[in-house]
Symmetry: D2
Subunit: 144 residues, 4 copies
Amino acid sequence: MTENYSESKIRVRYAETDTMGIVYHANYYVWFEVGRGDFMRRFDISYKQMEEMGIMLPVVETHCRYRVPAQYDDLLTIRTKVKELGAVKISFQYQVIRDSDNTLLAEGETLHAFTDKTKKLMNLKKHYNEIYALLAKAMEGGQI
Amino acid sequence: MTENYSESKIRVRYAETDTMGIVYHANYYVWFEVGRGDFMRRFDISYKQMEEMGIMLPVVETHCRYRVPAQYDDLLTIRTKVKELGAVKISFQYQVIRDSDNTLLAEGETLHAFTDKTKKLMNLKKHYNEIYALLAKAMEGGQI
Amino acid sequence: MTENYSESKIRVRYAETDTMGIVYHANYYVWFEVGRGDFMRRFDISYKQMEEMGIMLPVVETHCRYRVPAQYDDLLTIRTKVKELGAVKISFQYQVIRDSDNTLLAEGETLHAFTDKTKKLMNLKKHYNEIYALLAKAMEGGQI
Amino acid sequence: MTENYSESKIRVRYAETDTMGIVYHANYYVWFEVGRGDFMRRFDISYKQMEEMGIMLPVVETHCRYRVPAQYDDLLTIRTKVKELGAVKISFQYQVIRDSDNTLLAEGETLHAFTDKTKKLMNLKKHYNEIYALLAKAMEGGQI
């Protein structure tokens, strides 16, 4: 039995809402970042440590589709998984689910490059195969 | 001679940057919002007034492709135009250009629904044809 | 044995950091908001419900002293308590503590007015004594 | 005839508002940052260049008093001046003024330390007297 995604719990902050009384759209990408960090942690990879090792994951592309607006104080689950993994890039998929009624509020993807500290593209598979292998395993889903 | 886009000037705020020393990706969508507001203003439509009339433009979909990172204090131009206009939705296209060397840093789109204050979908063409006509004219480009 | 504060757990988001590699100062106020919400919840008051009842708590004054900077991925505790409670205003005190070594990173206060939906000042004690009593009890500390 | 403050023009972004229909309080500090950057620029000091020289100005204390809430699309003036200048620290004062009716919306202060890149306190007067002199001159007000 395997599972290849992580779940993050978020409570909507007042700061994240706008005059429409709903969450401002850009903030979903911040939640995706939270989901990404938790995903890595769940599969024994720390993004902070990756950065300390000199591996950066700058964002190359982002996309989000908003279905139902989140509101202040909502409890949400961010579900995160790896969509595609290559030697020089990785993409993640996300779902934002409202806990109270299990409604899918939004879904999105982010694409990241692997770079060194100078933002030069880096072949992760070649230079940090151990990290690459952890990501590959996380993508497939590990034993729980 | 016509022109169907607007230009907004932005200076990158420290608050918009992150530990990587570049602008955090979600903030480009905030700049797109600035671009959208200026676009409407440039074509004699005020989004604030639209909201007061009871017309909302909630965001339905967002997409951005990041090419070169913006950094603190950079002077940027956000170029905005309407991509598609329908009776119940509108999409905008954006380019983020660094003024110092005219580099294209990012480009994106946002899709919006027309709704009333209760977030119910609204046929703008039918209920507010005057606003619709202004947007249609802005899309084609007006006389300068 | 009583306790008159609440504790909220925060993990620093990448979005909250800046080019200096530390958390941008304004974001501590967002954490204070999280602390405030949790404080009320812990003492059986929901700020969301207060707003639905027509009671708003707009911020009148904020103050924060920063001792040691928080960084990406840090696990923090926000400790919140009521400092002063009056018929028309309330102030909260906050401490931001880094979990890894129990260091006090920052401390601050926020002062809020009680208003109705039109932002008119409201005597909470007079108009919503039940809520006022809950806040007063929370200030003193309740049984655990 | 001298003048010892700078003025920055801000248009309130939708992203900066919250469910109350007003600007979320933490965002005033972001505007103060804009004011600070413009202040320095106006007196021929670039904060970006200071950082490149290895001088950082981390925030040590912040305070703001909110009088009248700003709202989406408001045009604001941020007035900034140096309050106090010492060898190892500097404080700024800010006013937020609504352009439409010249109303004072908020006022605040921020206190900053001078540090090197490792966040170690630095005596600016001793190590970068040229920069210190520019700040001292800006504090007094220069010829216009």
